[in-house]
Structure formats: C-alpha cells, structure tokens
Symmetry: C2
Subunit: 114 residues, 2 copies
DNA sequence: CTGTATCCATCCCGATACTG
DNA sequence: CAGTATCGGGATGGATACAG
C-alpha cells in the first residue's frame, strides 16, 4: 500500500524530516552553502548514497536548493531555500523541548499514582 | 544506541518522533485520555503490534502516561504527560509550516494546467 | 481487552563499482 | 568531484497465535 493520503499534515512532514539525516543536513546547511564533499565531511557516518538520496528528497520538497556548476571537476552547491530557513527555528524548538526533557527526567512528572 | 550520542539533540528527538505514528498518536491523545482500543479505532491502519511498540516507546520517553486498571476485562488508558502536552504546539508548528509549503509552492512550475 | 512472541516478507541502507 | 546502479545483509513491521 503506497497510497497514503495523510489526513494529518503532521504525518506528511514527519515522513519528510523524520529520519536520522534530514534535520542534521538542514542544521549544517543553515550555516551557509556547502558542497557535496563538505557535507560528507560534516557527516562522516552518512554513506555517499544516503547523502545523495536525502539531499534529493529535501530538494524535491523545496527545502534545499541545489546549484550545479558543471565544470571540471564538477562542483555542486547546496543551500537552504527560504522555506528551509523558516524551518530551522521550528526544528530548534524541538531540540529545546528535548533538552528540557533530559534536564528534568520523566520520573518527576508523574503525579500521585493513586 | 550502538554509536556515540548525537551531537545534535535534533537527531535524538527525530529518532523518537520521526516515524509515521508517534506524532499521530500524540495528536490523538492531545484530545484526551484514550484506551488502547480507542487508539486502534483512531488509527485503523496501524497494526496491533506497532501500536503497542509505539506507545511503549512514547511512554519510555516520558511523553505518554499509561494507567492500567486491571480488572476484567482489562482496561488501560493512555494520556499525555505534561512534557507531552508541551510538545503538541511544536508539532503543530511543523504542520503549519508544511501547510504553508503546499499552499505556496517554492517552484511554481506545475501550477498552470491549461 | 491488552500485551507478548514468533514467523516471515519487505524495505532500507551500506558497500562497491562505474560514468561523466 | 558528484551522481547513479546494483547487490546483499539487517532492520522494520505486518499477520497470526496465544496468554492473562
């Protein structure tokens, strides 16, 4: 079943950003334009293949802009679109939320188990 | 995890919320406390097994609180913790962002269907 | 009703090799 | 340098059966 018409936009956006890499790549790109090999250096553990696929996915979603200067050797640059930039603070907010979680463990939030 | 801890909290929080179901379950639970079978009805396409696993994951993360009234038949209720509640608007913001994306495509190519 | 365990198909992803 | 294609192992998740 490939047809998933999400009723909830949340479901869709999580499909896009949910994996391990998308948000990380966005994070690194928020720093400025980078080349393919720069991103490889930033993320030493991502495979060549996955970097390509993730970038393509983000590009298709309109989050990442790809610029191909085809000379030799080839040179391609990746950067965030405006939509991508707008996404950064939202992702950041999730990070802050997570930070507040680990700072104050869930134990303390349990209220009077009667 | 097997490897080093993520430098970026984003990476961690996405590992948690990234899949198809977590955010949806949180959405449904933001509505109020629900039983296992209620959630099954809300999400007709999730399998029994995955519902259990996802709920357990969210519970372990301190997002969901599980209350087991063990009578007969058994009855278990799920609800959001305070941390979970605080997460809702953040997820919502992502949904809004996504909504603004589809509303105004970055690339106006396909719009004109003459 | 809720939860656990098992089996098994599927898919994701890394490694590798090749192209321009 | 950047991208594509292919293969195979391992993780992921559905179906099912069973337990409390």
């Amino acid at each position: 079943m490939k047809e998933l018409v999400s009723r909830c936009p949340i479901e869709e956006v999580m499909q896009l950003l949910g994996g391990r890499w998308p948000s990380l790549l966005i994070y690194y790109l928020s720093d400025g334009t980078k080349r393919f090999s720069d991103l490889q250096r930033d993320n030493p553990t991502i495979s060549h293949k996955m970097l390509t696929l993730e970038l393509r996915k983000l590009e298709d979603a309109g989050i990442v802009r790809r610029t191909d200067f085809d000379g030799y050797p080839r040179r391609v640059e990746y950067g965030l679109t405006e939509d991508g930039e707008r996404l950064v603070p939202l992702i950041d907010a999730l990070g802050d939320w997570w930070g507040s979680m680990v700072a104050a463990p869930a134990d303390a939030t349990v209220v009077a188990a009667d």
